[in-house]
């Protein structure tokens, strides 16, 4: 599947449904979580028993507000809930509580990074505008068994934040980059876990195409309920190609709701516009409009973590990290904070620290069986900094540092203690070293090399270093050896 032919432009808008990280449901006190038996997490309110009433979960509101602050949105003084009426067996009240006219979050933007020409080179950055985000309830789950269907209401009432973008995305790659950036921001702020395996993030994808340069938007289709980033990407690619094919064949696009079959990699029509629902929205009379205090907004603003790409820019520009290491570190807030704690303990060489964290540490954590989470990392940030410092000061060589790192990872001991215990400390005593060097230089077997060196062959000096290192059992500081040798040879 290829991108749209160059004379066509695709316009994409996403509606991303994210389950917020709360313990209780959004309008009921029933708990929720993955891996429970069907209908275990249901109370009278969730089941919509007659007489029950919704009460909004404070944490769900605060997570929604926090998201708004993460993307620089406006948090209106008031938000309100509406009823969206439609009959479906997974919808316990046959209306869904949502926010139609007064959402909790208005506006905002998400910075995205497109793939660069290679892994080592940063791609272009853009902003995608958020239209609004509203707080609503999830519905139950239907499964099919035999001739009938079964309903599990565990998911009903789980807090969902629906994040609606402006139609700012122009390619499948941009849609993918947006979702990756959004997921990083949501998880780094603790708003949501976004575990797609568990259905915690689901997308509706609006796609239209138009001739490049055309100011008017084409007729769009909406593909519902995509539960992975790859499904969104594939849907955009397929839908773009399908629409271009239709238009080029002189047919028109029908405004319709579509589904996506990820197994068959195929889209299909769910219903066309004539079948559009009449949801009969009206303000929910059970939930009064909610005033969100500016004090709450200010308090939550303090919880907003540094933006992913601000952090990346700081690492590259202020700390001098290569893009590759910076991009690995900033994707995971805990990892970035671990790295920064290590840098704080040894500010002289952030790149050296980054190199060990982004390469050796991550590799060993994930290679362990079972993989070790960063939170259980056997090495503390300050200890890793100590290792880098020993290397930087020439106490051990880079080669020795690898050995010490492995030892630190398996024992959790400090670098200095391992160096001492293994007797790895490099010899930096110039007096003794100078005596050894003079003895080696005096040995007739190296006379030829000395002559060559003096004749201008720089490399010939290396032939002398081997015997010196041998005499010092490898403990001599190579830099110091080189320096002294040159002085002695004149």
């Amino acid at each position: 599947m290829s991108q749209a032919p160059s004379d066509w432009e695709v316009v994409i808008g996403l509606e991303v449904h994210v389950q917020l990280r709360t313990r209780a449901k959004v309008f009921a006190s029933s708990p929720w979580g993955f891996g429970k038996e069907p209908n275990e997490q249901v109370d009278p309110v969730v089941l919509g028993l007659p007489g029950t009433l919704p009460v909004v979960n404070r944490e769900a509101v605060e997570k929604a507000v926090l998201f708004g602050l993460v993307v620089g949105a406006e948090i209106p003084e008031r938000c309100a809930w509406d009823r969206k009426n439609y009959f479906y067996p997974d919808n316990p009240k046959n209306y869904q509580l949502t926010q139609k006219d007064f959402p909790v979050v208005v506006g905002g933007r998400v910075e995205i990074e497109l793939p660069g020409p290679s892994r080592n080179v940063m791609g272009e950055h853009r902003f995608v505008r958020i239209h609004h985000a509203h707080l609503e309830e999830d519905v139950g789950k239907l499964s099919h068994a035999g001739g009938g269907s079964l309903v599990d209401y565990n998911r009903a009432g789980v807090p969902l934040l629906e994040i609606v973008t402006e139609p700012d995305l122009r390619s499948a790659a941009e849609a993918e980059a947006f979702l990756r950036s959004l997921v990083a921001m949501l998880t780094q702020a603790g708003v949501a876990d976004c575990d797609m395996e568990k259905g915690q993030l689901r997308c509706d994808c609006n796609v239209s195409v138009r001739r490049r340069g055309d100011a008017r938007l084409g007729t769009r289709t909406e593909t519902k309920n995509l539960n992975s980033i790859s499904s969104v990407r594939d849907t955009v690619l397929h839908e773009t190609a399908r629409q271009v094919r239709e238009l080029e064949a002189g047919r028109s696009i029908t405004q319709e709701t579509r589904g996506w079959n990820a197994e068959l990699a195929r889209g299909y029509v769910l219903r066309d516009k004539e079948d559009a629902h009449d949801y009969r929205y009206f303000p929910d009379p059970d939930i009064p409009a909610l005033r969100i205090s500016r004090e709450t907004v200010a308090r939550l603003a303090k919880q907003v973590p540094e933006n992913l790409y601000d952090r990346q820019r700081r690492y590259v520009e202020k700390l001098g990290l290569p893009y590759t290491a910076a991009s690995v570190l900033v994707n995971d807030r805990a990892l970035a904070e671990w790295f920064e704690a290590a840098v704080a303990a040894h500010p002289a060489n952030p790149s050296g620290v980054a190199n060990l964290v982004a390469n050796d540490l991550l590799r060993d954590l994930s290679a362990a069986v079972p993989p070790i989470p960063l939170s259980a990392c056997p090495i503390r940030p300050a200890s890793l900094a100590g290792l880098v410092k020993l290397t930087d000061e020439g106490v051990i060589s880079k080669q020795q540092a690898k050995e010490v790192f492995a030892e630190m990872f398996s024992t959790g001991n400090e670098a200095a203690a391992i160096v001492d215990a293994k007797g790895l400390r490099q010899n930096s005593d110039t007096g003794e070293l100078e005596k050894i060097i003079r003895e080696v230089v005096a040995d007739p077997s190296v006379a030829k090399s000395i002559a060559e060196y003096r004749a201008g062959n720089e490399k010939a000096i290396n032939a002398l270093k081997g015997p010196i290192m041998k005499r010092t059992q490898g403990k001599a500081n190579p830099g110091l050896v080189d320096q002294l040798l040159r002085r002695i040879l004149g």
Binding site: T22, R23, A24, A28, S29, S30, P31, E37, P38, N39, E40, Q41, V42, D43, P44, L47, L49, V55, V56, N57, R58, E59, A60, V61, R78, A80, Y86, F87, Y88, P89, L142, S143, H144, A145, G147, G148, S149, L150, V151, D152, Y153, T257, G259, L270, R271, H277, D278, R280, P283, P288, A289, L290, R291, I292, S293, T296
Partner: protein
């Protein structure tokens, strides 16, 4: 104002099936009631109805999980169930 009163469409939206007699009866009765509602169409009204009660965050629920009904109670309430789930006739994709 009562123009366009489509009893079939409303019955479908409301998930009610009506006999021909019921349709005729309800259509005429509702027509009469809507006629009485003309006063509403003619009245001089304020531009907004912004009189809804507003609550502050103290009305919100804390994020403390509470008791659940239990699968047994849920299935006991249900007219039909199977393996702890509520059974319904087979749902065809997006039948709603």
């Amino acid at each position: 104002m009562a123009e366009g009163f489509d009893i079939d469409h409303l019955a479908k939206l409301a998930r009610l099936s009506l006999t021909a007699e019921e349709k005729a009866l309800y259509a005429s009765q509702l027509g009469q009631v809507l006629g009485h509602f003309q006063a509403l169409a003619k009245a001089d009204l304020p531009a907004t109805a912004d009189d809804a009660r507003v609550v502050d965050e103290s009305a919100l629920r804390s994020d403390e999980p509470g008791p659940v009904l239990g699968v047994e109670a849920v299935t006991r309430l249900a007219p039909a169930s199977r393996d702890g789930q509520i059974s319904v006739p087979r749902v065809v994709d997006d039948e709603s």
